[in-house]
Symmetry: C2
Subunit: 339 residues, 2 copies
DNA sequence: CGTTTACGTGTAAACGATTACCTAGGAGGA
DNA sequence: TCCTCCTAGGTAATCGTTTACACGTAAACG
């Protein structure tokens, strides 16, 4: 690996000149520029990001903390992030929190030690007492998926509450009168908001709320709980795709009659939601756009540009109805996707 | 951010001592150690990876190049990589190749410029003429999923050929006599090997090979091709999960009779493969272990330890049979998963 | 003709760690 | 007593860049 000094020597100029040629930070005569460029070619010189990073205190790297990349929600968000980051010549370091407060802290520590310029985070904490924790972080942060209230940190979220309301109303209008919510991990802003929207939309009617843990096992428990109800809801909204899978697998295996007689709605489109019989209705979040937007905001913060504290992206509700469970169609119902 | 000098001053020692306390590279008296540790705590000092990296010429960072992280195969491999890397105090930068030679080169360039200590790669190239390209890379490389023949680069692959043979034989033993392979992108070692294994296992009987492109669209085309055959195969093996999905979706929508009358086998377990009716049989690769192993090998190479040039991990064939399509059961057949 | 102004370039000090080399004091052996 | 060896610790060079400052020349301006 050749250094900037090697290039300077070969081109017969100073390292300053070489640096300025590379970065275009100072006028350099045509002749000299040619000489330098040629020398760089010949030595196939690549400037060391380390040297530069040490001096400028920026490695052009950002951290991305996901709960779990094998969850396709996060994988798609990440692709959005990565595409934007690459355009801006940044690279992305990925860490997992696995919805664990300790893991999250550790991940953030590591990222900071690595000298990242900023961090994208789906925060596991949300309480007021945690505000301090996030506030003390010494690099710019943008939160995605989950809102960080009471903290001066920009968040990119979706209006899933509206979608929840739309979904419940959709089936209400078709005659359904008993609704349940399988809620996610308590404390997450998404859980809270979706819970409120659900309460609000379902409240004139009978409704249930079961608190899961946002993991596959939560869905398994929910299935058991569901099957034990003397009177069962006819519409079940699941607040997260992992729980939905646990629920469906368990129902399919042990309580097939529950599965076939209940309308299920879940978050986040995945292939299997349409392959299951009956198929699941879905609240689709703009995952890629979440990533792109969050990355944009982070890069702006890194450049010290002011950014809005809350960005809300729209969801799309896709109804997949089934003759048995859908309820009675509306006069103008085509049972296709709705917006 | 405080530096090692601040710590040294506060503890009343030299930077050398602080450094040695941090790294345990030299004997330090108990007293002094306590002083230093306390000073670090008080300033909550975190050593800069940049400074260290510049000096030691290692950022403790590795690059991970996937075709596409939204493909759960790569996501799971990545988790394996990340867990091992974290244990060894390395962080991981992720890039995508999208099976594109240009993207791959770019990704590798960027990683090297960022000063990674090594690269994990699912190489898009494989020909002899490409050997040179990979050989010229100036940091240690380990290839995963795909074998890099004729190049002095360690590979971690699976014995999917054995699994392919096992799968075909499984259905041959149940009376099937017409087999097809939907092969992946040409040039990948996996495509070649699985093709050979398929040929070998199916060749006494009538068989077809359709070349897809390892993407969703390849499956769509394959579905059309399949439906157009005057005599259709009764067992279809798909060489990659994206194509399998394209195939199933298209069949389900346009040619349901083909779907219900054909045994489908695919690579890599995903939730939807068991939700589809009829369910798909699957060749399960040890994805997490691939990641762990590849990471291990890379870290060893970084430490200049010799490693084997080829590591092969075993696959598992999971048969999911359906009364209509399975063929006649063997005398002792329980239709469960086989090893 | 003296004074700006502009332009092109070089010198050398950072950035934050690691580490080769050196110093000094005390213990132990001959 | 002298020499050797061990232990504990300091000094300062170094890694590869960027960049503040200085310098010299030539053109432009009054």
């Amino acid at each position: 690996m050749s250094t900037i000094r090697d290039v300077a020597k070969r081109a017969g100029v100073s390292t300053a000149t070489v640096s300025h040629v590379i970065n275009g930070t100072r006028a350099v005569s045509g002749q000299t520029r040619v000489l330098v460029v040629q020398a760089m070619k010949e030595l196939n010189f690549v400037p060391s990001a380390l040297g530069r990073g040490l001096r400028t205190n920026s490695l052009k790297t950002v951290g991305f903390v996901a709960a779990d990349l094998t969850n396709s929600f996060f994988a798609h968000v990440f692709r959005g992030v990565e595409s934007r980051a690459r355009e801006a010549n940044y690279t992305v370091i990925v860490s997992h929190s696995d919805e664990d407060v300790g893991h999250e802290s550790e991940a953030i520590q590591n990222l900071i030690a690595k000298g990242v310029d900023g961090i994208l985070l789906a925060p596991v904490r949300s309480g007021l007492e945690d505000a301090e924790f996030y506030q003390e972080i010494s690099v710019p942060i943008v939160s995605y998926d989950r809102r960080l209230t009471a903290v001066n940190i920009p968040s990119v979220v979706t209006n899933s509450q509206d979608a929840v309301r739309e979904a419940i109303n959709f089936f209400k209008a078709r005659g359904h009168e008993r609704f349940a919510l399988i809620a996610g991990k308590q404390g997450l802003s998404t859980t809270l908001e979706r819970g409120q929207a659900f309460e609000q939309a379902a409240s004139p009617h009978r409704h249930w709320v079961f608190y899961g843990d946002s993991r596959y096992e939560g869905g398994v428990h929910a299935a058991r709980w569901l099957s034990e109800q003397p009177v069962r809801p006819s519409v079940v909204l699941v607040g997260n795709n992992l729980m939905a899978m646990g629920l469906v697998v368990t129902l399919q295996e042990h309580y097939p009659e529950v599965l076939s007689s209940t309308v299920l709605i879940t978050m986040d489109e995945e292939p299997w939601t349409s392959f299951v019989r009956p198929p699941l209705s879905v609240i689709v979040q703009p995952t890629h756009e979440i990533g792109v937007t969050a990355a944009d905001l982070l890069l702006q913060r890194i450049r010290h540009t002011d950014v809005p504290l809350l960005t809300t992206l729209p969801c799309r509700f896709v109804a997949r109805t089934d003759p048995v469970t859908a309820g009675h169609p509306l006069p103008d119902d085509e049972s296709g996707p709705t917006s």
